[in-house]
Assembly symmetry: C2
Homo-oligomer: 329 residues x 2
Amino acid sequence: MVSKRQEELLKLIVEDYIKNARPVGSKALCDSMKCSSATIRAEMNYLEEIGLLEKTHISSGRVPSEKGYRYYVDNIMAPRELNGEDMLKLQTIVDNKSLVVNDIILKSMEIISELTHYTTVVLGKQSSHNLVQKVEVIPIDKNNIVAIVVTDKGHVEHKNIYIPGDVDSVEIKQTVDLINKLIVGTSIDSVSEVLEYQVKPIIAQYVKQHEVLYNAFYSAFSDFTNESVKVNGRKNILMQPEFNDADKIRDIISKFEDKEIVNNIKEEDNGINIYIGSENDFDDDVTVIKTKYKVNGEEGTIALIGPKRMEYERVITLLNYIKENIDSR
Amino acid sequence: MVSKRQEELLKLIVEDYIKNARPVGSKALCDSMKCSSATIRAEMNYLEEIGLLEKTHISSGRVPSEKGYRYYVDNIMAPRELNGEDMLKLQTIVDNKSLVVNDIILKSMEIISELTHYTTVVLGKQSSHNLVQKVEVIPIDKNNIVAIVVTDKGHVEHKNIYIPGDVDSVEIKQTVDLINKLIVGTSIDSVSEVLEYQVKPIIAQYVKQHEVLYNAFYSAFSDFTNESVKVNGRKNILMQPEFNDADKIRDIISKFEDKEIVNNIKEEDNGINIYIGSENDFDDDVTVIKTKYKVNGEEGTIALIGPKRMEYERVITLLNYIKENIDSR
DNA sequence: TTTTAGCACTGTTTTTGCTTAAGTGCTAAA
DNA sequence: TTTAGCACTTAAGCAAAAACAGTGCTAAAA
């Protein structure tokens, strides 16, 4: 069991450590706790025993453990109002009617990175449930055409397709018309199926070079969904005093360059989720806070990566603000 | 004046330092120079006097100065053949007919970053001289349309345009048709002019909400050229022993995040240019090697950033290979 | 029973001096 | 002109010493 006073003590230690990044000693808390350092030491001892605090060495002040942060996040920290300055900076973006939602997300996370001095990540992925609204195929020259697909949510993808020599331009036209006719209204992720089972058999009958053409289109359409990754403020997390070591910094930067690791940040869960230290797959020394968004057929994850010693309350408030504003669109 | 023997000595020192990143002492060179360390010391002394070598402290071995690297690059290093392994890795990309040139550049620079362990940068910019081949405007819903522009070189740009409420859809259609008619064949950079001086006066006559519509299109088309930046292998340059300091690493990473600094990498000059240390605007401790490319109406810069202690010969050879292959397309 | 003052104790950090290693410049002889 | 030899300089590593921060424990006070 954790007493009221112990909770108060933990709160003070976590918040002091978040602010100053130095182990917190018993003396420093006498004033706030209104008791002597000896009493505080006794309580600290208990909190350490149950695993909420740690010492960096035998005679050091205390530092919250992962479990300590977890307890703080789950039981102590209180949701806050968005602070005035943060609000001001975000509002101009969020309220800008002429921005596409996607741009709002990107821009907001950029700003949040600046405001908090943490790194933010936006993982976007065009929903495969989007329906094809229109397919355009525009000839460029003898060997090249551009295929453009617009979805019902306004998402645009294009691919340059190389047509190997000697394919009859009339046959291209015919194929394109057919594709146009058959593909509109299907979902992005079934495009390649439609190509294979509906388009292919038909063009096989009247197009000489049907194999060549089919392959060109198939490979162009097969991975038409575009996954985007944007990382803002890599430098921010590196400025944190816990990453004051060249090798550690290299390690973090390497992780941001590893596509697999970055894509792993993707969140499945709804709501705003907090992964402290070893709870996340990115790095044991950081906390990842993330949430899924889904809007206009575009879905993805917005995430914030900082030290475990993170300004949890503020960050949650900020992410909540963004999430609410996106969802209400 | 620099004698033949002094040049040979400089060459050995530069190449030894490139390889080992440690100041080079006189003893280590006795074998290659076929003379005693005392003689070498005397020659080193001279090379230092004329500013080609430096000491890190009074009793240390010698390190090339910026001027020394410059002399090496200008007068000593010899162009080489592409080494077998490098060739092999690049060829599969460069010879892939079905890749767009743009993708070849991106992919090649990615590979060069891996091969050399330096950081590479690709600054792409759609040429403003490209001609508009086709404009498509596709309605999404009451307030949103997507405008797509394809150029004669196969470059595609799109923008989501927000149409403020109550604009008549028939009027949108009329405006779009007009834009379509007037804009095809003009160059990307004169699109906004055409909009202002040809489209605007006409729609003003028969479109009620012409101000609103004009503004929407104008702002959408006004910066239609898309500048792209791709940085590969940030971590590589950080791994170099000269950047073994947390603050230095942070400094470099911050520079890669500063759009202005990165855009400054853009090269104006033709040919492959080498900027050693203070010769470049990026960072005094690095060398930037870059070259302009222009192909298919797409133009930009490919650059390679590494320590001053860079494998100049190899890097030049690699960039040359890419450049030649792009130019011959 | 809880709180507190006091003190011994323990790691960290910083300073200091000392030693070793690497490599130079200079001089005098080859 | 080249070389061997030597005195000299700095960096780097290491250990001991001193200063510091903060703890745990005990015995007395509340």
